[in-house]
Amino acid sequence: MASRSADLRVEGLVKRFGEVVALDGVSLDIASGELLTILGPSGSGKTTLLKVVAGFETPDAGSVRVDGTDITTLPPARRDIGMVFQNYALFPHLTVARNVAFPLEMRNVGKAEIERRVAEALELVELEGYGRRLPRQLSGGQQQRVALARAIVFNPRLLLLDEPFGALDRKLRETMQLEVRRLQRRLGLTTIFITHDQEEALVLSDRIAVMNKGSIEQVASTTEIYERPANDFVADFVGESNIFHGTVTEVGSVTLDSGRRLLIAHPASVGSRVGVLMRPERFGRGANSFNGEVKEAVYLGSSIKLRLACDAGMELIVRQPSGALPAIGSRISVGIEPESIHVF
């Protein structure tokens, strides 16, 4: 399949539903061939953003551009955007092959050509031989793959996926995530993927846009989002975290609100208010050491997770390599290097 992927530029999108502001000035750039995940809790506006891009909602302000062309008011049928819906939205009265053929029939593609491209698309999602079945005769994962085939068969300029794996069990979800990633790379398709599952976002994306309350909190690469989140919300939403706030009292040192002093590697200027993030898996030995009472200890197979109550009311979540669980109530020491502390 020849790719004709486009880049997408969304600028200053505002969408209100009565009193509710679903989109509050959202701007976003997506390069051709990129997979960007929009990650956010439910009600953050991510689905509304997708609907505006697909053309099912008209924004109150702002614009949507594909390859520089303004498509803000173009009806969905003329946007050439493939979309996979949360509940697949397969046409139950049409066979799998007719479902996949649908966008081609709408484009008046010739019969032989349709047949060839449907077969090709079904092969791409590993559903050869399923063409004559009805959607309800397929499993959830298979239906999802049909929806995917239908969304890519007409060489769309963009692919939009709206929490497509929400209804699948964990194992199948992981398989499908890898499959989507593989397909997307192979076709070089510009893709927006919506999810509230931060793990899914980390697995899939080139970049992640974290949304909250109708605004984008941060757009960055997966590692950037995880290692250097821009604010409390992102730090808290993506991964497990220990977040504290404090004031920089001298270069390389922060005094937290609890009174505890931390050594940091970040060159924040003296007197500034900062947040510090310590990921649980970064604890081990280090220049900053904590002594705390074990309140909770959970064995997770590849690691153990501890909740420590330290001095001055600080609570820490700590992950350590798998081993014997310390007794509840015992006191242990952990440390963290200044370089492992993220300051924002």
């Binding site: 049928a77 009265h93 007409f154």
Partner: protein
């Protein structure tokens, strides 16, 4: 709670009601095959003479054929009006929607006799009395609520994401309607059309007022009972019951009723 005991009680009660409702058939069916020249139960002997009399009488056949095409035309007209109306009621957001909704269902509430008298006055001025298409118009008014109710139940359960999907895949509004929406609503359309047909095929009161000399089957049956009582009427009844039953079976097989609205 004793679910088993309750269930048995329910089954018993339903059986009782069912038998009571079906009881007339137990009488009508044997009489239609009676060898006696008058209504007598149980019949003294078997004969098909009353069916033959029905089939040989052009008046009966004429009335039957008229009822069939009046019913068919009523079904078509009621669908043409009722389906768009149901769409507008189920999906529209406009002032007066509630009023239109009540108005569409009003023929269910207004006594048929009142409606008939009113229509008689109006149709007399329009010279529609005795015309079969006048009867079709009147029957459509009566059939409209069924179509609207069945279609609205179907539309309420309709997953609109399917229409969005179709549009996103390049279908125009019209293509979406004819390729996705209506095919998926086919069971509701079948039910609505057949119900409209039955409501007309069985209808007597309006026909009494508007049909004039052109008899429909129910009117012919009514006149027949007034004039002479012989078992022909039983034979006609049996055939009418069989036809309506076939239609109801068709609805059960290919259509959907109102049960979806309760989900």
């Amino acid at each position: 709670m004793k679910p088993n005991g309750n269930r048995r009680l329910l089954v018993a009660l339903c059986t009782l009601i069912y038998v009571f409702l079906m009881l007339p058939l137990v009488v009508v069916f044997p009489i239609s095959l009676s060898s006696a020249p008058y209504m007598q139960f149980p019949p003294p002997g078997l004969s098909t003479q009353w069916y033959e009399r029905y089939l040989d009488d052009p008046q009966w056949i004429d009335a039957t054929v008229r009822s069939l095409y009046v019913g068919g035309a009523t079904a078509v007209l009621a669908l043409l009006l009722g389906v768009p109306l149901a769409f507008s009621l189920a999906r529209g957001r406009y002032a007066g929607r509630i009023a239109v909704d009540r108005l569409a269902l009003a023929p269910l509430i207004v006594p048929v006799i009142i409606l008939s008298v009113g229509l008689y006055g109006l149709f007399a001025k329009l010279k529609l009395i005795g015309e079969w298409y006048g009867l079709v118009v009147a029957h459509t008014v009566l059939a409209l609520p069924f179509v609207v109710l069945v279609m609205m139940a179907g539309l309420r359960d309709f997953d609109r994401a399917l229409e969005q999907a179709a549009e996103g895949l390049g279908a125009s509004r019209l293509q979406t309607l004819f390729r996705v929406t209506l095919p998926l609503l086919r069971p509701s359309l079948v039910s609505a059309g057949l119900l409209a047909f039955i409501s007309s095929f069985d209808e007597l009161v309006v026909a009494l007022f508007l049909a004039g000399p052109n008899m429909t089957l129910p009117k012919k049956m009514f006149d027949n009972i007034l004039m002479e009582i012989d078992p022909t009427i039983a034979a006609v009844s049996v055939m009418q019951i069989v036809l309506v039953s076939i239609v109801l079976v068709l609805i059960g097989r290919f259509g959907r009723g109102l049960q979806g609205s309760a989900r």
